[in-house]
């Protein structure tokens, strides 16, 4: 989230799209309803009428996988009707920047496409700069090659009728949503978007979000109270897991993962430290060297010296262009290229797409270690349906883990608030926290390497691994402090001297010379200099009255509750919205939230800075050349779609996605054998694959068995009555479940034809309860987003047959 949960109450218009917030983030609705009490409008756009829709002022449906068409139409509406926030667009976005002449877009493809590699050469996706390197701008926004005009031209194709024929949303409903949401493009109104996996889990997932970001920038809704682009994260601490880099493309704090071609620290830093000639740009990522060196010092301690590149050579590197994501991992495993697997708190046998492929891949392993509070379909795969246990060679180790309330540590919520929690009870039996388990395994690995050596023992032997308390138990406070970082020598900065061993109280103090450590620069400041844990704060003071609660827990970065908050004020530092003044320049200093940097407002030509401090140009990107499939989001059909032709262009699917071509990666597009669009989701009552909730009888009584929700119209076609058993089939598998015939799904009119959509929860598996049904992910395809490889769980094709 750019904002945070409580801030939802400050909104005037809440668009919930790609999310079923009421069901999957019940607490978020406390704040949605507070906003509604103040007169806010709540809009829900979703293929299905859900418990969220029931609470909304307005619901309309769209076919799964057509969000860019829906939102592209909103961009056109905003531009055609002058609904954008002029001052903001001019000053805080790259609308006025001039784009390279060779940049083109033609019938679904941008310039530079290589169909063989399914990749773009992005060299024409650039902003023109003058001789000093500063972007060339046209403040009138009239130059046909400026971003604003190119944006306008791109979305001119997304007219209401075209959008309606792709999405299936009635034209009247499109107009209603566009009108309601774009009414927030004035300085004293705020519109927010709450999204979740309904946007990310598509082959165009990242671009779904970018399309909305463009809308929010046009309306001046980013950096303000009640606005923002707000991802409701799927797990209590998934924000923390991202921050700490449980992903292949980043190191902690969103530093880039190094590739094999960056053989030295210098090469790495050169590649990933952005430069800017824009005089008023803070270009915050210019600090990359400080954060990278401090990270290496946290990992390798005294062993990391300037002379040895701070042990940069010790950290693992992916091959250039290597796909090291989840889908690629299971593909390699299926193809016998991976020998061992450690699974912690996860159930890929039910949660990964094309689950039959995953379950078969497990049989190719020599060993699997599974850490969890219950058994689930993953460690028990060898006794699953259709598996001959005698033929399985994989050795499985099931390690009992502590549950959430049985361990101490930090939890980072969607709003970036990092809250410290304490242990309520000891874990039962031999169960240990995941931290303890990982700590002990690595300690043992170090011991074995010390004894037996290995091909390349240095990264393991030199790793700093001192996080145990006096009793030998893993110490979460010690880890959190290492994440925050220490002064490793006495350091004088300005007039202040910091002593060796003290905590670094802000990332602004981190150094690139090895005198500081920090396991994650974004979390630097979570401890004070004297070691007080700010994450444990529980003070309810709210000095601004805006619900920022600055002394409740701690929030990254530097306790800033709403990021990009300098965009909430004009060039003089005056709040655009006097009713909700998030920040204001008063008597030579900032009042309100922690500002995005201490600099004065923009009118101070010498010291003032632009608000989007993480962007090299200091402004936000309506034109976003960092994306894999183009600087402007474009509608493409899901990998599996009911259409053989994209109604928007000649390009059917996202041209930059990876296509898996193995024997088990079957796909059926516009295939009469699989005529219905299917999507998957979770319910309030179960947690993800149900690995922890299916054992709980109060929850299984509420949602006992797998079901497929289908419209009355489709039920009639299939000859199915409510509550009867059906078989749902895709080219990859089949699931038997109960048909829930409902008025909450209705057929779509797409390109003149009637298209039916169904939906299933992925809350079930064969292990327990015995009659609950198996995973919906037996049906989903092995394909991911072009930028993130997040699987396309949300749109694929099936058939439904009465059993």
């Amino acid at each position: 989230m750019t904002n945070h949960y409580i801030d939802i109450r400050n909104s005037d218009c809440i668009l919930i799209m790609g999310s079923n917030a009421a069901e999957n983030h019940p607490i978020s609705f406390k704040w949605v309803l507070r906003a509604k009490d103040q007169g806010a409008k709540v809009i829900h756009v979703d293929p299905r009428f859900t418990r969220t829709s029931a609470m909304a002022d307005f619901h309309t449906s769209l076919r799964s996988g057509t969000d860019i068409a829906f939102l592209g139409g909103m961009i056109k509406y905003i531009l055609d009707n002058n609904k954008y926030f002029d001052d903001y667009v001019h000053n805080y976005t790259n609308a006025s920047f001039i784009v390279d002449e060779k940049f083109t877009f033609n019938d679904g493809l941008f310039s530079g496409y290589d169909p063989g590699k399914r990749k773009y050469d992005k060299s024409t996706w650039t902003i023109k700069v003058d001789s000093t390197g500063i972007p060339i701008k046209d403040p009138t926004l009239q130059n046909p090659r400026c971003v604003f005009q190119l944006l306008k031209a791109h979305y001119s194709r997304y007219d209401l009728e075209k959008v309606s024929s792709i999405t299936g949303t009635p034209v009247e409903d499109l107009k209603a949503v566009y009108e309601m949401f774009s009414s927030t493009g004035v300085k004293d109104k705020a519109g927010t978007i709450l999204y979740a996996l309904g946007w990310t889990q598509h082959t165009v997932g990242a671009q779904n979000i970018r399309t909305m970001a463009i809308i929010q920038l046009l309306l001046g809704n980013i950096g303000i109270c009640g606005g923002g682009v707000n991802a409701l994260r799927g797990e209590p601490n998934v924000q923390g897991s991202t921050d700490q880099a449980i992903l292949t493309h980043i190191l902690p704090g969103y530093l880039k993962s190094p590739s094999a071609s960056q053989t030295t620290l210098d090469e790495y830093l050169k590649k990933f430290t952005p430069k800017s000639s824009e005089p008023q740009s803070a270009n915050w990522w210019q600090n990359t060297p400080k954060y990278t060196v401090s990270l290496l010092k946290a990992w390798y301690g005294d062993k990391a010296t300037k002379e040895n590149d701070f042990c940069y050579s010790f950290i693992p590197k992916v091959d250039d262009g290597q796909d090291a994501t989840l889908l690629a991992m299971f593909d390699k495993m299926y193809n016998k290229q991976i020998k061992g697997l450690v699974v912690i708190g996860q159930n890929p046998a039910c949660s990964t797409p094309n689950a039959n492929k995953v379950r078969k891949a497990f049989a190719e392993l020599d060993w699997m270690v599974h850490v969890n509070i219950f058994d689930n379909e993953t460690p028990s795969f060898w006794k699953g349906p259709g598996v001959d246990s005698k033929k399985i060679k994989t050795e499985v180790f099931l390690l009992p883990a502590a549950a959430s309330m049985e361990k101490e540590g930090s939890m980072s919520n969607s709003g970036r608030w990092v809250q410290w929690k304490y242990k309520a009870a000891n874990p039962p039996g031999d169960a240990l926290s995941a931290g303890d388990i990982v700590y002990r395994i690595m300690a043992k690995v170090k011991e074995i390497y010390k004894k037996e050596r290995g091909t390349f023992p240095d990264p393991i032997l030199n790793l700093q691994w001192n996080y145990a308390d006096k009793k030998g138990m893993w110490d979460p406070v010690a880890v959190a402090k290492a994440v925050n970082g220490y002064f490793l020598e006495d350091v004088t900065i300005g007039e202040k001297t910091y002593k060796k061993g003290e905590c670094v109280p802000s990332f602004a103090l981190l150094q690139a010379d090895g005198k500081t450590s920090s396991g994650n620069w974004l979390y630097c400041g979570s401890f004070t200099q004297d070691g007080t844990n700010l994450m444990a704060r529980r003070k309810k003071d709210d000095p601004t009255g805006l619900g920022l609660y600055p002394q409740w827990s701690w929030c990254w970065p530097v306790n800033r509750r709403i990021i990009y908050n300098r965009a909430s004020v004009d060039a003089d530092g005056k709040p655009y919205n006097p009713k909700r003044p998030l920040l204001a320049w008063v008597d030579g200093k900032w009042a309100g939230d922690v500002p995005d940097g201490p600099w004065p407002p923009l009118t101070d030509q010498e010291k003032g800075k632009l608000p989007f401090i993480m962007k090299p140009d200091g402004v936000s990107s309506l034109f976003g050349p960092g994306m894999a499939e183009g600087p402007f989001p474009e509608h493409y059909e899901p990998l599996e779609s009911p259409l053989s032709k994209n109604l928007m262009s000649a390009q059917l699917n996202n041209p930059a996605i990876r296509i898996f071509t193995g024997d088990i990666d079957k796909v059926a597009n516009a295939d009469p054998a699989f005529p219905y669009v299917c999507t998957t989701y979770t319910s309030t009552e179960h947690w993800c694959t149900g690995g922890s909730t299916r054992w709980q009888s109060w929850l299984t009584e509420a949602q006992p068995q797998a079901y497929v929700e289908i419209s009355r119209e489709l039920a009639e076609i299939c000859g199915v009555k409510n509550g009867e058993m059906v078989k749902v089939e895709s080219p990859r598998g089949q699931v038997e479940c109960v048909a829930m015939v409902t008025t909450r799904f209705r057929p779509f009119k797409i390109g003149g034809q009637t298209i039916h959509q169904v939906g299933m929860t992925f809350n079930y598996g064969w292990l327990f309860p015995k009659d609950c049904g198996d995973s919906a992910n037996l049906l989903t395809p092995t394909v991911g987003d072009a930028n993130t490889m997040t699987p396309e769980y949300k749109a694929f094709m099936v058939n439904v047959k009465k059993i």
């Binding site: 009421a22 069901e23 019940p26 607490i27 609705f29 406390k30 309803l33 009428f49 418990r51 969220t52 829709s53 029931a54 609470m55 619901h59 309030t684 009552e685 709980q696 009888s697 109060w698 929850l699 299984t700 009584e701 509420a702 949602q703 006992p704 068995q705 797998a706 079901y707 409510n722 509550g723 479940c737 109960v738 048909a739 829930m740 015939v741 409902t742 008025t743 909450r744 209705r746």
Partner: protein
């Protein structure tokens, strides 16, 4: 004397998360019922001796062609003049009672001596259920054990959106009036159900029968 306690059930704030349904079972140590998916989110299908709080789901199409999905967190209304108590007491003295301080309506183990069908049909809201093993009649207790000790009922404590509010009856009645008035701007049919007769007062935004057959007396 105080007018006892009340619960406001504001269905316009209920997301049907079923936290109340589960919290009721947790506090009262009631078992999970073995259920089947029969084509609805509502489960268990009905109240029983082991389910005293049940979120009912009702769906359909509105006049404007859009779907509706109404949620009704059903439980004993704790009537001011409870007909079930009269009926039970008529057969077995001490089989049912009304707590003087709070107004909570309670069945005791002696309730097994009363004819169940008659008790059930005396209830305007179809709440009482019989434990088939012991014959004792069962239903919500207003968490008398909690509210007598300064704690809100378990269901109210679990509610994330403020759809359930517990307090002094006089204060709850004021809240009900205020809320209905505010809702009427958007929902002309908004009303409180039988507010002058029951302690558990439901606010609905449409015809009560669209929520549940026995929503209103």
């Amino acid at each position: 004397m105080s007018n006892g306690k009340s619960i406001l059930v504001d269905t316009s704030r209920c997301t049907a998360c079923r936290g109340c349904q589960v919290a009721c079972k947790q506090w009262n140590e009631l078992p999970g019922t073995k259920t089947k998916q029969v084509g609805t989110y509502q489960n268990p299908q009905d109240l029983s001796s082991e389910t005293w709080k049940l979120v009912r789901f009702a769906e359909g199409i509105k006049d404007n062609g859009k779907p509706f999905w109404y949620f009704f967190s059903d439980q004993c209304r704790h009537c001011l003049v409870p007909p079930c108590v009269d009926t039970i007491q008529g057969y077995t003295d001490g089989g049912a009672l009304q707590d003087q301080a709070t107004g909570a309506v309670l069945f005791t183990p002696k309730s097994k001596e009363a004819p169940f069908d008659e008790v059930r049909s005396s209830c305007p809201y179809n709440i009482p259920r019989k434990d088939e093993k012991t014959g004792v009649l069962k239903k919500c207790t207003l968490c008398l054990d909690r509210i007598s000790n300064g704690r809100p009922p378990a269901c109210v404590l679990s509610c994330p959106t403020g759809a359930l509010v517990f307090g002094e009856r006089d204060e709850i009645l004021q809240m009900v009036d205020k809320r209905v008035e505010a809702l009427k701007i958007t929902y002309p049919k908004a009303k409180a159900i039988d507010a002058d007769q029951v302690r558990v007062i439901y606010i609905v935004t449409d015809d009560p029968r669209k929520y549940h057959e026995h929503a209103a007396a």
